[in-house]
């Protein structure tokens, strides 16, 4: 039995090492100099850790500017922040209200509409991409942050609605009855009863929507244009289009900068993330 326990921990540690190795390689490469990368192995620790590559990834290389900007990721980071916060609030808010309305007020056709919305979660974004481009262009917000916010709300609402609707379905009928008899109308019931009850699910929806929107690539690539380039698109451009010798340390620092916000949210949120990720895995 004792040998079994050792084997068990051995296998788990091996799996943990294999999963963490690429993350370790990313961090250690970002702290090395190019000389060290060329002459060393990806597994070795940086001999003289330096954040030079990080600052180059963040601010850009101002000695070889092609345009006016230095080409760092800092502006895209800000773009991503400006997209994520409004899109997060709007999509979660809309999902909460829609889910509440569908689950509690049971109008005719509510289940049909929910099924239609649920199926919408599975639609690959490529299928509606071009009509969406036309719509956003006609609205005059193509290639801008408001355009991207709208697109993210459209793509996020099915997921957030599902989360809230399924949660509100579990609220006991007696509680709703009591509130109704006390004279609570649609919004009073929402603000004073349902929303306070749904705080955990609100947290889950916020964390997941943050992760999805921050990590999105296709929508940012399609709708961002030049001025609305989010972090993932900028990272892909940086890695794909360096002239001369590739600077792997800068690439890895840029990758770290892109991964850090969602990584931090994941590590801080713990179980809430796990609760939502399974429900949202089907999302487009």
């Amino acid at each position: 039995m004792r040998y079994n326990r050792w084997a068990l921990y051995g296998l788990l540690c091996l799996a943990a090492i294999m999963i963490m190795a690429p993350v370790f390689i990313m961090i250690s490469t970002s702290l090395k100099s190019m000389d060290e990368i060329r002459n060393g192995s990806i597994f070795t620790l940086p001999a003289d850790p330096s954040f030079a590559a990080w600052s180059k990834a963040w601010l850009g290389d101002c000695t070889q500017t092609l345009g006016k900007k230095c080409g760092g990721l800092s502006s895209s980071f800000m773009t991503s922040v400006q997209i994520v916060i409004p899109a997060l609030i709007l999509s979660v808010g809309l999902g909460a209200v829609t889910g509440y309305s569908l689950a509690v007020w049971k109008m005719k056709g509510a289940n049909v509409m929910f099924a239609a919305l649920l199926v919408g979660m599975f639609i690959p974004p490529q299928v509606t991409l071009y009509p969406l481009i036309i719509m956003i262009r006609e609205l005059g917000i193509f290639g801008s942050i408001p355009g991207l916010i709208l697109v993210h709300v459209i793509w996020g609402v099915a997921f957030t609605t599902m989360m809230f609707r399924n949660f509100f379905k579990t609220v006991p009928q007696d509680l709703l009855k009591a509130a109704r008899i006390d004279g609570a109308g649609f919004w009073a019931l929402f603000w004073h009863v349902m929303l306070p009850l749904s705080l955990p699910i609100l947290g889950v929806a916020m964390i997941l929507q943050f992760t999805y929107i921050w990590n999105d690539f296709l929508l940012g690539l399609t709708f961002g244009g030049r001025s609305g380039q989010p972090m993932t698109v900028a990272l892909n451009n940086l890695v794909g289009s360096q002239f001369g010798e590739k600077e792997y340390n800068v690439d890895m620092a840029a990758t770290m900068l892109t991964a850090l916000p969602t990584l931090a949210v994941y590590l801080l949120s713990g179980r809430l993330f796990v609760r939502g990720i399974a429900a949202g895995a089907v999302k487009g």
């Binding site: 296998l11 809309l94 509440y100 049971k106 009509p131 109704r180 019931l189 690539f217 892909n236």
Partner: protein, 316 residues
């Protein structure tokens, strides 16, 4: 519940309940209806309306811009004669098989290991699920660096003394598709583990007691008793991973760029490339529609079971 609870909130019952509110004219149901308008508009217009629109475009000869000159199913004929499309579809099959298979096998094994009752379970779970929080672009860039033959894993292993070690799949047209599965499994295995672990925790503990009394070895209990009981979890994992595979776009862009050549191209990338870059809107739309049909074929049993479960759960 044999009978659904009498529902005070339903429109028909509403008149029977005395409501103190003085504003009798504006009934809450109307607010509920108004609140649904944005989501309903999105569903009808942006989901279903746009699918139909894409289908219509696929029946035209549109190139750079939509032109509504119908040519029947010409674009589909062109699509199915397109070599790159078939490479992409074949790659979807290979990648789907390896990725889903790998996620299921490794995810289940990790879940079983954790389920054996280990200390620091939370730490292992957190580590295994860590890649999930990162984007496919980040995953792709990291693995592109790890697998690059010049300075990556191949060189590192050679430097350790194994001089003939070869791992250059990412630059080989006949192997590049496999690199996608490696990176994909790395990212998604934690999700499968979490789903399987939740399933294992739902297993009746008496089964373990009974099998211990009978002296059945642990591995046989897992193989012959637990695994058959977990079939709905396997089904769910399979569906979720299929949905991820069919939408796979970011990962291939960041990891291989579809290359070398088009050797690791996937349908989702084919579609985006033809719509955005190649001015082949009609062909791209046809590809998108075929992709949608593939998704529907895989997903519809799942949706059916979900809705059936829900109807069953509330009692007829």
């Amino acid at each position: 519940m044999a009978e659904p609870a009498p529902d005070v909130l339903q429109r028909s019952d509403d008149q029977k309940i005395p409501i103190k509110s003085g504003k009798k004219r504006w009934r809450p149901q109307w607010s509920a209806g108004v609140a649904l308008i944005p989501a309903m508009t999105i569903t009808i217009v942006c989901f279903y309306g746009f699918i139909i629109w894409t289908f219509i475009i696929s029946l035209t000869r549109s190139r750079l811009l939509p032109v509504y000159k119908f040519t029947g199913f010409d674009q589909y004929v062109r699509l199915f004669a397109n070599e790159r499309w078939w490479t992409a579809m074949q790659n979807l099959a290979i990648h789907g098989f390896l990725f889903i298979g790998g996620c299921v096998v490794f995810g289940y094994l990790l879940a079983i290991l954790i389920d054996r009752g280990v200390k620091a379970e939370g730490m292992f779970r957190t580590l295994f699920m860590l890649p999930l929080s990162m984007s496919f672009i980040v995953t792709g860039v990291i693995w592109q660096w790890v697998m690059n033959p010049g300075l990556g894993l191949q060189e590192a292993v050679r430097a350790l003394g194994w001089a003939s070690f070869e791992f250059n799949w990412i630059v080989r047209p006949d192997r590049s598709i496999y690199t996608l599965a490696i990176a994909g499994i790395w990212q998604q295995v934690g999700l499968c583990m979490a789903l399987f672990l939740a399933g294992l925790r739902n297993i009746d503990p008496n089964i373990w007691k009974a099998s211990r009394v009978d002296g059945i070895p642990v591995w046989r209990v897992y193989l012959h008793i637990i695994t058959p009981m977990m079939r709905t979890v396997f089904f769910t994992v399979f569906i979720l991973m299929s949905a991820i595979v069919m939408k796979a776009f970011d990962l291939v862009v960041a990891l291989t760029g579809g290359g070398p050549g088009f050797s690791s191209d996937l349908p989702a990338r084919f579609v985006v490339d033809h719509i955005l870059n190649r001015q082949e809107l009609g062909l791209g739309a046809a590809g998108a529609f075929v992709l949608l049909c593939t998704v529907i074929a895989v997903i519809s049993p799942y949706i059916y079971f979900e809705l059936k479960k829900e109807r069953g759960g509330r009692g007829h």
